[in-house]
Subunit: 341 residues, 2 copies
């Protein structure tokens, strides 16, 4: 069975304190002593008991990632980048899905706090995150938000350059001669608002009047990509296509693209001949459609990576009692031109 520090100490002929010191490098010991300890460790195949250590140090080495919608591959990629970054610092990731329900998100945070995670990364379902003020009142731990801006709770954030990316997309459309450009998003939240702002900015700069009727948002009742095929965005697209004279469509995210593209397919509208199409966020299957879709690519694992760094920095700050102001980092997007515009 597993051996403990006591047996190591006994075999090495030293105290448990000394064993702890050499194992953690937390105090200088004589080289000769260190050798004896390490020999004993090897002989017994000793491994530190993390349960005991965590308990003693009052940390779990666990970071929770509360994701608004885990079926969205964007967040899976964020999780991947986050996990990799955290592993470098000896932390593990616990992933948990909120299924776009605020109540589930709150429950998730509560559970995670109850299992004493050392930090939290949150992709919030909605902007209102004031509940965190209460929940974290007694156990202040670092929190970083990704993808969406919270309201009612100040903390670190990492987001894509939503406005710039959208601006670039629409500028590209305008350069191709389009003036009747519509924007569809799966739902109006802070992120989609930023993208809509980039859309407006590009139009304004080109002297094209902004038509409020060309800007459409869905509801967010459903979370599954399957359901989005004939969801609110599908209907908006249908309306835009049949009752308005648009020549180009800018989709605010992949979820919206699922609905918009399904509509385009069903109406048998030729892209880019009949309509130009561009979408924010890239997915690997955008090359398997006919035509392949031009997209503003985000870098989700970079977002996760940066969020992980922020959390780890905060954690060492906490230990050292330093307190830095919250920061917001933006990860640059990039336009990938394919065949849809």
């Amino acid at each position: 069975m597993k051996s403990s520090i006591k047996e190591v100490a006994h075999l090495a002929g030293v105290s448990v304190a000394t064993v702890s010191y050499v194992l953690n490098g937390t105090k200088r010991v004589r080289p000769e002593t260190e050798r004896r300890v390490m020999d004993a460790v090897r002989k017994l195949d000793y491994q530190i008991n993390p349960l005991a250590r965590n308990f003693r140090k009052g940390e779990s080495k666990l970071i929770g990632f509360v994701v608004c919608d885990l079926s969205n591959s964007f967040f899976q990629d964020v999780a991947h980048g986050l996990e990799t970054q955290l592993a470098k610092h000896g932390y593990r990731l616990i992933l948990i899905d909120s299924k776009e329900e605020k109540s589930i998100e709150m429950e998730n945070v509560r559970n995670l706090l109850a299992s004493s995670v050392d930090g939290l990364v949150i992709a919030p379902t909605t902007e209102d995150c004031s509940y965190l003020k209460f929940m974290l009142a007694n156990h202040p731990i670092p929190v970083a938000f990704v993808d969406r801006k919270p309201i009612g709770f100040e903390s670190d954030m990492v987001l894509s350059t939503n406005e710039d990316g959208a601006y670039e997309a629409v500028k590209h459309l305008i350069a191709k001669g389009h003036r009747e450009i519509a924007f569809v998003g799966s739902r109006l939240d802070s992120t989609m608002a930023e993208r809509a702002e980039g859309y407006r900015k590009a139009l304004r700069e080109a002297g094209i009047p902004v038509n409020a009727n060309y800007i459409r948002f869905g509801d967010s009742l459903s979370v599954s990509q399957r359901d989005h095929r004939h969801g609110a965005v599908y209907k908006h697209t249908l309306d835009l296509l049949t009752k308005h004279d648009i020549t180009a469509l800018f989709s605010g995210n992949t979820l919206a693209t699922v609905g918009a593209f399904t509509c385009l397919m069903e109406l048998n509208i030729k892209i880019p001949q009949d309509i130009a199409f561009i979408t924010f966020d890239d997915s690997f299957w955008f090359t398997m459609t006919t035509p392949a879709l031009t997209a503003i690519s985000q870098y989700p694992d970079q977002i996760g990576d940066v969020a992980g760094k922020m959390i780890c920095e905060r954690l060492t700050d906490f230990r050292n009692g330093v307190d830095r102001p919250h920061q917001l980092q933006r990860i640059a997007t990039q336009m990938i031109i394919r065949s849809s515009c």
Copy 2:
């Protein structure tokens, strides 16, 4: 700050043992005493310290899921089902990606053991899992395998009905009049072998000779779906299409479909007119292609769910000292007919 069981005991005027008993329901106490304890708990907003409890009980309440390829949405769905099931039993999931590298998988298992997970679910990168015998020698914990059969280590498994599903797919093709049917898989492993066997069985039953040259497997050098577009399966498909007279193609998994379908698109081959196409495993984007793809759907969250149940049963078995034989469960697949055949 956080209060401890001692303060609760003090406030309630009882011993810490009693508090522990009522909190855990582990011994009968007088209703009156229980009330006093619960009052104190409420007054202090006391929450049990899981770090201390885990340490004391020698468990972490953590289950590790070591995934051969986390970028594959199939496994993300398995993880989702697993997580949901484990949560019901008070366990949390730690997800970790092996990127289809055996050495990373072994490293992951080692790390997870070092953080003392209570159980392990593994989607192995390759069949050889004999390393587990050594790693688990000193800390025997329950292990369940998903999706792929291991060799060299006996444990519980949950797999899809690969042979039956493939058989059904090929029978469907035969019923449509096809006789020159090729099979492509991303890589030859136990799962793909089972699917190939279903393919052969359907042919044999229909009296169609099995042409060994019609069965192709890729290598597994790359993990990313993007790279599979022009990977080994792409080349096999190109060869089958240009040098052989096949009329139908059965793809063994989504990764293979990425390569095969890309090839079909690039050669501008009309599906199903020029060639019929069916694939094992379903993905939501199969409705966004032209045409929509007929698929043998798997139920990954059910796989995860069952694996979770198995682990939890083993865990209670361990505690009670019972030892049951290992079991293999199969989750049924279902054919979803769309427009590609």
